[in-house]
């Protein structure tokens, strides 16, 4: 993974000093809260219901074991012993004291981490494919470009106060695993007919109040131009994006208002001034950064380990885990292993300090000391020898991270919701836990197969509910919490926005609602057909009929109990 040089380290150290002084001035009342707010947000510090929340950047989801141990220490000393991984591959601590944030940042800087631009109306952390570099379907490894863009966007002076937040995602494989179509800018690294590397550039995607799939404004942008072209895109947005209404300030609204062709022309005109200028990326710099992402020292192995195959036959629990949590790898004899942060009874994405330390040790022992955070809020050990899988499974299981549910109904993507977040209209974690509890039978869960369920506590859609096969949105109606259900959303190459099925439900009805949706699928599915495919084939009507056909008795769920995080 990328290691800082003296320049990267200096800028992060100077940021710590700057923020320490900003906190000092706030505490001394030299800065009003109104003035401090945008400053702290640009450093990932939110004021939530109970305390401050600090969001720490995990650039394109890549972490070292050492960094994870530092996060564990922070969890212990500055939080309540937990951290929460987010849908943008970052980590949040929910119980931070303002006075302690400079010390936390200093500690992070010591392991080449920071909280720069994890919030605020600026270019945010760049997200990517959690299997970058190991995926069998990879065209080009996106990580060097992600790092180059991280540096380019760090303290970019002209774009620190955009009309609204600005999110990049970058993917380099056949399958889109970075939800590129739902980002302000979605980049896909591709090769053209002549084998030249470049980017397909999408703009104006986004979820939130106005979900829109991004538009391709350039089919092929040769790689040296990536920074100058993006500079042109964002300069156009910075000047013409709306600033009168924060709900209409994202780039998607501008692109929609003037049309993607007109927008592309504006960008093209601006870019003509920058194209081939000094901002152009050089092969030397690309190679310097790419050298940090070379393959680890893989052994030459057979891809069929007999002992593992035998254990798979004998041990059903292990076989379930292999089926759901172990993913293919481009190198024979290696696998990528997903550690589930979706154990029943635990808020999705949550991890304890002890678990972080265990994972750090496992990463060192089995995966070259590195790991990845997924936008579905799980962790990945990307380079595990197939023959180590059983041994690894036993340890992962002991740590409570082996729930064999990756891609299944209980692998719920969920925001912190009303338990923590000041923006939320409704709680989300207790609903996720209640649904998980309802589907606690593993055989049933595996029989249902792949379903993406996404649950957001408000319209800001941090849990990407619009692209969930089942999307649940918490809404406020006359001061009480209700849940609106949509169906048919999906991420990946066929990213689609789900359709709302009808009137909202109470929290207590939600497990039954999900169960009824699943019943329709089980009744109607053809062989091998996934939930999303059945929904696409039949439309939402039969699901609606089942859900609204007879009244749903509310059944008490544990809403309102304190959840950790």
């Amino acid at each position: 993974m990328y290691r800082y040089d003296q320049y990267d380290q200096t800028i992060v150290d100077e940021r710590v000093a700057q923020f320490r002084d900003q906190v000092r001035r706030r505490l001394a009342d030299e800065l009003t809260e109104e003035e401090f707010r945008p400053l702290r947000l640009q450093n990932g510090l939110y004021h939530q219901r109970h305390a401050y929340m600090l969001r720490i950047a995990i650039p394109y989801g890549l972490l070292s074991a050492t960094q994870l141990r530092t996060l564990a220490q922070i969890a212990r000393e500055h939080d309540r012993g937990y951290g929460h991984f987010t849908t943008r591959q970052n980590i949040q601590f929910n119980w931070v004291k303002l006075e302690e944030t400079p010390a936390i940042l200093e500690r992070l800087a010591g392991v080449q981490m920071h909280a720069i631009q994890t919030s605020g109306n600026c270019i945010r952390n760049i997200t990517s494919d959690q299997y970058a570099g190991v995926a069998a379907d990879e065209i080009v490894d996106p990580r060097p470009y992600a790092e180059i863009l991280r540096q380019w966007s760090t303290f970019q002076p002209e774009f620190a106060f955009l009309p609204r937040k600005f999110k990049f995602a970058i993917n380099g494989a056949q399958e889109d695993r970075a939800v590129t179509a739902a980002h302000d800018i979605g980049l896909t690294v591709i090769k053209n007919e002549t084998g030249e590397v470049g980017f397909r550039v999408m703009v104006g995607g986004g979820l939130g109040r106005t979900p829109i799939i991004g538009s391709v404004i350039r089919e092929f942008l040769p790689w040296p131009h990536v920074m100058t072209y993006l500079e042109a895109v964002i300069r156009v947005y910075n000047q013409y994006g709306r600033r009168d209404n924060m709900y209409k300030a994202r780039i998607k609204i501008l692109v929609k208002a003037i049309g993607s062709e007109e927008f592309a022309q504006e960008v093209e005109q601006e870019w003509q001034h920058l194209k081939d200028g000094p901002g152009t990326l050089t092969i030397e710099e690309l190679q310097r950064v790419a050298a940090h992402f070379t393959a680890p020292a893989y052994e030459t192995l057979s891809d069929n380990d007999a002992a593992i195959a035998q254990l798979q036959q004998e041990n059903k629990a292990f076989a379930n885990w292999l089926a759901r949590n172990v993913k293919p790898h481009r190198i024979p004899g290696y696998r990528a292993v997903v550690l589930s942060l979706k154990k029943p009874g635990v808020p999705p994405g949550d991890i304890s300090a002890e678990q972080m330390e265990t994972v750090a040790t496992l990463a060192e022992r089995y995966s070259f000391g590195e790991l990845r955070v997924t936008h579905e809020q799980n962790l990945v050990l990307a380079d595990v020898r197939q023959r180590d899988l059983f041994e690894l499974w036993q340890q992962v299981k002991a740590a409570g991270l082996a729930t064999p549910n990756i891609g299944l109904l209980t692998d719920i993507v969920c925001c912190p919701g009303g338990d923590y977040c000041a923006l939320a209209n409704a709680k989300s974690i207790p609903i996720a836990l209640a649904i998980t509890e309802r589907f606690d039978n593993l055989d049933y869960l595996h029989d249902i197969g792949e379903i993406e369920l996404n649950l957001s506590g408000c319209i800001n859609a941090c849990a990407h509910h619009h692209v969930g096969n089942i999307g649940i949105l918490g809404v406020d109606k006359d001061g009480s919490e209700w849940y609106q259900v949509s169906l048919g959303g999906s991420q990946g190459n066929q990213t689609t926005i789900g359709k709302i099925i009808g009137p909202a439900f109470s929290a207590e009805q939600m497990p039954d609602v999900v169960e009824r949706l699943v019943e329709v699928y089980l009744r109607e599915r053809n062989d091998e057909e996934k939930f999303i495919d059945t929904v696409r084939r039949l439309g939402i009507e039969p699901f609606k009929a089942q859900v609204y056909g007879t009244p749903i008795e509310p059944k008490a769920i544990k809403v309102g109990e304190p959840t950790r995080g």
Binding site: Y4, D5, E14, R15, Q156, E158, H292
Partner: protein, 181 residues
């Protein structure tokens, strides 16, 4: 109307300032048409609309600057740049970032070489960014100490990307090596 003993930051130092900023939305000027705004003698920074309406009369004076609101276009001044000793850009709120692109375009696209001054909600924590895009003068909000604000110019010593102050990105300026272990 001119403030006594007014000071600003310019070219990295605190200096006395004798420019008068004319804001049409203040007091009696609020309802005046741009062509009717009376421009006093001495060094005056006039609103863009007043400049455009009275250009013929004002062009003879060497002590006129123009200020742009954040929703006005820098191209409106493209034929006047050589004769304007000062252009100011207003920040109605420091979080309104349009002024950064206005400054960048004035410097880099239109080649303006005179004083470029940030006015309005100009605060210490934005000075580093403001200087990078091409501002060389900062009329810091009146309730803040200039001595404190000055420190904002040097918050960072490393600049990754191009802007008005750096014509090349860091990777073209220095030899970057591998990891600092």
């Amino acid at each position: 109307m001119a403030e006594q003993n007014k000071r600003i930051i310019k070219d990295g130092a605190i200096i006395a300032d004798d420019w008068l900023l004319l804001r049409p939305n203040v007091g009696a000027l609020a309802d005046t048409l741009p062509g009717d705004v009376s421009i006093p003698a001495g060094k005056v920074i006039v609103p863009l609309a007043a400049w455009l309406a009275q250009k013929e009369a004002l062009a003879a004076r060497a002590d006129i600057g123009v200020w742009l609101a954040s929703d006005e276009r820098p191209e409106a001044l493209k034929d006047d740049l050589a004769r304007l000793p000062l252009i100011a850009v207003d920040f109605p709120k420091f979080s309104d970032g349009r002024g950064y692109s206005i400054a960048f375009l004035l410097r880099e696209r239109l080649g303006y070489a005179g004083e470029l001054r940030a006015i309005g909600d100009v605060l210490r924590d934005q000075l580093f960014y403001l200087a990078r895009v091409g501002f060389n003068a900062f009329d810091v909000r009146a309730d803040r100490k200039l001595e404190d604000a000055l420190a904002g110019l040097t918050d960072f010593s490393v600049r990754y990307q191009t802007s008005s102050d750096e014509k090349a990105p860091l990777f073209r300026r220095v030899q970057r090596h591998g990891a600092a272990q």
